[in-house]
Each structure stands twice: as C-alpha cells, then as structure tokens.
Symmetry: C2
Subunit: 255 residues, 2 copies
C-alpha cells in the first residue's frame, strides 16, 4: 500500500485524461449538462493532469498560497481547520465532482485539504482558471454555483452544530454523505462505502470520538443508521429523513 507522507511526493499522474473534464460525475454540479464539445475541450486543456493523493496526504497545505482551483475526481477530501492549540475541525467533505473552495482563502489561513482514503484531484492554475471564467460564461456560472453551494453548506453545517443533538448531527452527516455519494435518495438495501473513521466523524460533528461511538450505537439500536467497516447503511430511510429533518428541496442541492 502506498503511504507517502509528503503531498508533493505523492503526485502520480493517472491516465484518465479524456474523461476528466472538471466534473466527471455530478449531473447538476459545475459541469452538469456540458454538452457543447468546444467547452469540454477548453476545460480539458485548461486543467492539470489528474494527481493521485495518498490517504492522509494534503492536497492543499495550511497557509499554502491560494495555489489553484482543485476539483475532486475520486475519493474524498476533507476540508480541515487546525487551531493553534492543535484542535481540529472538519468543515466539509468534498466528494467526486466537488470543488475545493480553498483558492478563495488567503495565505495566512489555518485551513487545509486532506485526502480521506485515496483520492484523485485535478486543478486549474489561477491563470487558466481566470481565463476560463472570462471566456466561458457557462463555466463561470457553474463555478459561482459551486461557491454558493459551499457557503450554503457551511451555513447548514453551522446551524446543525449549534442546534442539533449528537445523534442528529451524526445522522445528518451520514445521511448527507450517503445522498451526495449516491446522487440519489439512499435505499434500505444500500451499503455506501465511506472512507471515514469515527474520529473524523467526531471532527465533523464537534463531538469526541468516544461520544461518536456511543451515538452510533444508539443509532444502530434505533434501526436508523449503521456505520461499520467504513460502510454506511441507512436502515430506514424514511425514519432517518424524519429524524434529521432532511427536506426534499434541500436534497436537490446535493444529489
């Protein structure tokens, strides 16, 4: 197994050039419905070769200057905040097709992006990104939408942490990840691979790992959600939706 520490050392170019055009997966995400071949080719030329990132390696290091505009092609990337005293928070998990909204941030930032499991990302250099946005109105609009989605997501996440109980927070997180991972409403029969561990669930929900363990047990016993062996199982989708307060309209955003 590859276990490189340094992110630059873990750069590997993989051979999926042709099908990688900014947003390979998500139908409604930045590139959704990009049927115009010219646009596609312009995108393809503008971004860098896909880069493979080892588990735990940084895609963007903390304080790294606004390098490029990254997009996740495969795997999950966590957007992490590390405070002075070493405490950490996970703001967001970027799934395939998601933009990593870090090029917006200044260089004194404490945020970084780290691969959870193995991930592949591609990037636009600032210059090519600028040009692309100017020349391709469709691209620009989609990029704007992606940023808006990040802001929207950040607000949702904040409201959850401020108001919801531990069980609700964990359920919301796992439900949200399931929906975004499947691009549809999960079924009871689905087993959704999630390269997470309980520590990371804790960082994303503002809970300790110990309490996450207890909370997962509780969710399991209530036949809502199971999380074992890096797989999410939604035992009872309707009950989970009710429990988390997930609304149909909000779902649209993430599918």
């Amino acid at each position: 197994m590859i276990a490189l520490k340094d992110s630059s050392a873990s750069v590997v170019h993989v051979g999926v050039r042709r099908q990688c055009y900014y947003c390979p997966v998500r139908a409604r995400a930045p590139c959704g419905g990009l049927r115009d071949t010219n646009s596609l080719e312009r995108l393809d030329l503008a971004h860098t070769l896909p880069r493979r990132v080892a588990p735990g390696a940084t895609v963007v290091a903390p304080g790294e200057r606004a390098a490029s505009t990254y997009t996740v092609l495969n795997g999950w990337v966590a957007l992490i905040d590390t405070l002075k005293d070493g405490q950490m928070v996970i703001h967001h998990f970027a799934l395939p097709g998601d933009v990593i909204p870090l090029e917006l941030l200044g260089d004194q930032s404490t945020r970084s992006a780290v691969a959870v499991g193995e991930a592949t990302v591609c990037a636009f250099t600032p210059a090519s990104h600028q040009r692309l946005r100017r020349e391709d109105g469709l691209y620009d609009a989609r990029y704007q939408a992606a940023i808006a989605r990040e802001l929207h997501y950040a607000y949702d996440h904040f409201a959850d942490i401020a108001l919801a109980s531990a069980a609700e927070r964990v359920a919301k997180l796992l439900w949200g990840l399931s929906v975004r991972s499947l691009h549809r409403r999960p079924l009871a029969s689905d087993l959704i691979p999630a390269p997470l561990n309980q520590i990371q669930i804790g960082l994303a929900t503002g809970l300790t790992a110990v309490h996450v363990s207890r909370t997962l047990k509780q969710l399991r016993e209530q036949n809502l959600i199971t999380f074992e062996d890096h797989m999410i199982g939604i035992d009872n989708p309707r009950a989970v939706e009710r429990f988390t307060g997930a609304s149909a309209d909000l779902m649209d955003m993430w599918m």
Copy 2:
C-alpha cells in the same frame, strides 16, 4: 418611533445618493481604494436608491428569490436561519460596507436578513450586478473577495462554536464586532455602540439567553469585556486578544 412591521412598508429613500457608492465605509472592503472616478460613477448609477429598514424588519425574507445584491450602508443586518421548529441561528452580522451574501442562495432557503436596530441598505438588481461584474474587473475582483470573506467567516464561526467555551464564544463575537465596527484594534477607552441584545448574542453563539447573561457577568468580573446598554467596552484589549486567540493576521481581514 417608527415601528413598521412590513419590510416593504418600511422602504424610505434617503438623500445620501452621492456618497453612497457600494462601499462607503470599509477601506479594504469591496470598494476600498476605488479612486477611479469612472468606476465610482458606474457603481453609483447601477445600484438602487438607499432604503431604510426599520429595526426588526426583513431586508430579505426567507425563501425570497435571490432578488438583488444588497450592501449595508448604515446599521447592522443579521443573517438569520429559521428552522422548521422555529429555532433560530444568527450566522453573521453584516456591518456597514458588508455585502449580504444571500443572492447566492436558492429560493427554498430558510435564511433571511433582518435589520438589527435601524439600518440602511442599497441594492444592485441582478441584471445590473451582472453587467457591472463583466464590465468592471476591479468591481468583480472585490465582489469575489467579499464572497470569499463570507465563506472564510462562516468557517471561523463554525470552528468557534464547535470548539470554544461559552465565554470564549461571546468574547470572540464581541471582539470581532468591535474590530469590524471601528476598523481598528479597540482601545480600553472605546465604547462601541452595538444594537444587539443578549438574545441575539445567544443566537449567534449557540447559547441560551440565560447563559449569555451569566457569561457576560463572568467576562465583566474578569475585566475582559463589558456589554451594557447596547455598548461594548473592551476593558483590556490585550487580555481579550489572548483569551479569544485573535491573531494579528486574522485581524487584517476584518479591519
């Protein structure tokens, strides 16, 4: 005293047209350093007449479609989230010169913008905003920066709520508001007007009003911060900075 309930009824056009050019106050905010007269005039022509909003009246109602791009000219505007069960969170206080980042959000949103105290806002229509951004690269860059700042702020706020104690949260909020309000580091002698009450501090920090009261008492007794009669007093700036972990680089963002 004016006490209009309906936001549309509270629309009053005030006569400060000339000096209102998107960002009348903040030096580093969207319009900072806009010395080019052409740009100024273009901005002036593009936005609507300033509108006065009564205390508690909505600037943008929940679910209101992405109407315009609002900028606060005077007073404070709270960005509020109202959940189904009626619980509320305040994500952010927009101060004079700040953009209200709601035109980014969809129409099924639960967020709204409400005047805290009396406020004045102006707006760009979507069309004129689009045109302005296309034609004025400087404006576009500043707008981008404003959005980035909102995202940045949302992440900071999240990290605070997830990790900090009640006293730290309240202190951070009041310190941040003071810095943004003064555009400089507060001095011990400053008394900063803040049209807030303890309930709103609670909504912004994820605490109950009762606990905010106790927390303020504690901060007062420790000679850190006083909050009385809608005035913030930073008793000991250095100690507050230490206590909240406010760093010099982060300050730059808000001054």
